[in-house]
């Protein structure tokens, strides 16, 4: 049983109307792994995460989560089974406080009968002390970095088994990017599997176990991340001169 991957995607195709955005994508996330998907703008990274989460319907392919093939993917059901997506837009509740945003992150757990949201919130505040300082502030008035922390913190409130992160470094200063990546790497230690979509390929490959390069809706290259870091094509297109550090 422990050998089944957390997530296994096979031959996934997703279309927007007549235009197919993902062509036969396959990938795997093993227990306790960080897997990254890198690729240029418009490659289909966000589309991939949306289809896994059930926000978008797939036109073909299989998705198995925790060893079970998912016949019909519904967002609420995936959340109930411990999958959480931090979307590119963050989708925070702007006119609500930081604390309420976090509480709502535990909505499904609460609905399923768990009453540990206060304890989880204390843990989230340990990880992001900045959120504790600002817990009464409206989410809409937070800085970009703080919003990002809140988006990740809110996702952690669900105590996910698989966390889908869509470009957590988007628009952040290098120092905060490093901070966020350190936290993602820490999550792995607590047993959370992470599927990380990133433009910042260097930072992503440094913390990931395995990587996929997505180009125009197809997996162009994949492999263990140290191997990808040495791959000439990856270096040329995504890491620039210097390669691995």
């Amino acid at each position: 049983m422990s050998t089944a991957p957390v997530l296994e995607v096979r031959d996934l195709c997703v279309s927007y109307g007549k235009v197919e955005a993902l062509h036969h994508v396959s990938l795997k996330v093993e227990t306790g792994q960080i897997v990254t998907v890198i690729g240029p703008n418009g490659a289909g990274k966000t589309t991939l995460l949306s289809a896994i989460m059930g926000v978008l319907p797939r036109s073909q392919g299989e998705i198995a989560y925790l060893g079970h093939a998912q016949r019909e993917i519904e967002v609420e059901r995936m959340v109930a089974q411990g999958m959480t997506l931090v979307p590119e837009s963050r989708a925070l509740f702007g006119e609500m406080t930081v604390e309420d945003n976090l509480l709502l992150g535990a909505f499904m757990r609460h609905r399923l009968g768990h009453r540990d949201e206060r304890a989880t919130m204390a843990q989230v505040f340990e990880i992001f002390p900045r959120l504790r300082e600002r817990h009464t502030q409206m989410a809409g008035t937070l800085s970009g970095g703080e919003r990002q922390m809140l988006a990740v913190g809110r996702a952690l409130m669900a105590r996910p088994r698989l966390l889908l992160l869509d470009e957590p470094s988007l628009g952040l200063a290098p120092l905060i990017v490093r901070e966020i990546f350190r936290i993602v790497a820490d999550l792995k230690k607590s047993g959370v599997a992470v599927l990380l979509v990133e433009q910042n390929a260097r930072a992503a490959l440094q913390i990931a176990d395995y990587g996929y390069v997505l180009e125009t809706g197809e997996v162009a290259i994949s492999g263990p991340s140290d191997q990808l870091q040495d791959d000439p094509k990856v270096i040329e297109s995504y890491l620039g001169l210097g390669g691995k550090h």
């Binding site: 989460m53 837009s89 989708a91 509740f93 006119e95 609500m96 309420d100 709502l104 992150g105 669900a158």
Partner: protein
């Protein structure tokens, strides 16, 4: 006009205004959560009042048949879907809410002779019949179109409104009903007589408003409704389903509507189609609040009540015209002051 008359008109205006305020809040809630402009809101007012009147007259209210019928329709659809999707664990809940509950309520109303019960029990029974019609209407008419545009949802609202008014005529006939006051007493303050029912209406409305406020500020489900109104995508990603939020907001709207009807039934005679005008006045209040601000909508609705009451004194033939004309300057003012920011998902 002397001071006495002004006070009387003010009293009238505030009583009606309190009811309009409740309806305005329900309209803002439903629109914020589902983007539905809830024209049938007024039908719940009429259904609440007429159901209570029927119970007091010792008759089984027609709304009970509606509850049974809609329950069967909802159950049929949801059971078919559950079987097709292989979600058998939902079956007990579907049958329980849509078949067992209406049937049990029918049996209860049959057995207990509601006409002989004390008023609070009659009120609870009337609410028990009418309130579940809220989520059922959502399930049948709006849920299949949850992603449709505001305009399509508005057209559906008009259709639902016409259907419910027609059913109201069928169930309750063309005669109006008036129920006895909650308390017979009057209050004498500074030479002015205030009717007991007025005090009931104002206090009950305030209590309901405070309860709603607490619900949205303090409970997780209330917060989930606000979250859906603020960011639908974000709410879904937290596991707050659009369907659940929609049904919950319709449940609240039906409860507010039916309760309002029960409150005013001793003051005005309610006919099967009275709800529409009352609902429209709540709508004017909601528009004053831009269908978004709860306090402004409530204040606007009280203003509508006062305006209506004073214009009925000065120009009673034109009182509706005056009230609805209020919408024009309000819309002008809103279009000049509102920034048009489209939410980007």
């Amino acid at each position: 006009m002397d001071f006495q008359i002004a006070l009387l008109l003010g009293q009238d205006g505030i009583t009606n205004g309190a009811i309009y305020a409740l309806l305005a809040l329900a309209l803002v809630l439903v629109f914020a959560v589902t983007r539905v402009i809830f024209i049938p809101q007024g039908e719940y007012v009429a259904f609440g009042a007429l159901t209570l009147a029927a119970l007091q007259a010792g008759k089984l209210p027609g709304t009970l048949w509606l509850l049974l019928g809609m329950g069967i329709a909802v159950a049929a659809i949801d059971l078919a879907l559950a079987v097709r999707r292989g979600t058998a664990r939902r079956i007990p809940a579907i049958v329980g809410w849509n078949i067992v509950y209406p049937a049990a309520l029918t049996a209860l109303l049959w057995l207990v002779k509601p006409a002989e019960l004390p008023l609070p029990a009659q009120v609870l029974l009337a609410l028990a019949v009418v309130v579940p019609l809220g989520p059922m209407v959502y399930r049948l008419a709006y849920q299949p179109l949850a992603e449709a545009s505001v305009l399509v949802l508005l057209i559906v609202s008009v259709a639902v409104h016409l259907t419910l008014v027609g059913l109201g005529l069928l169930f309750f006939g063309a005669e109006g009903s008036r129920t006895p006051a909650f308390s017979e007493g009057n209050l004498e303050i500074a030479g002015l007589t205030i009717s007991g029912q007025t005090i009931w209406v104002v206090i009950a409305s305030l209590a309901l408003i405070v309860t709603l406020y607490q619900l949205f500020e303090r409970t997780l489900y209330g917060k989930a409704l606000r979250a859906t109104a603020i960011n639908r995508v974000g709410a879904r990603l937290m596991g707050i389903s659009t369907t659940m939020a929609g049904k919950l907001s319709f449940l609240l709207a039906a409860a507010i509507g039916a309760f309002s009807g029960i409150l005013i039934a001793p003051i005005t005679t309610i006919y099967y189609d009275t709800g529409f005008l009352i609902g429209l006045k709540g709508f004017v209040g909601a528009i004053i609040g831009g269908l978004a601000s709860y306090p402004v909508a409530a204040a606007g609705a009280v203003l509508v009540g006062l305006l209506e009451s004073f214009s009925s004194f000065y120009a009673s033939a034109f009182k509706e015209v005056i009230v609805f004309t209020l919408i024009i300057p309000v819309l002008l003012w809103r279009s000049l002051t509102t920034r048009h920011v489209e939410e980007v998902e």
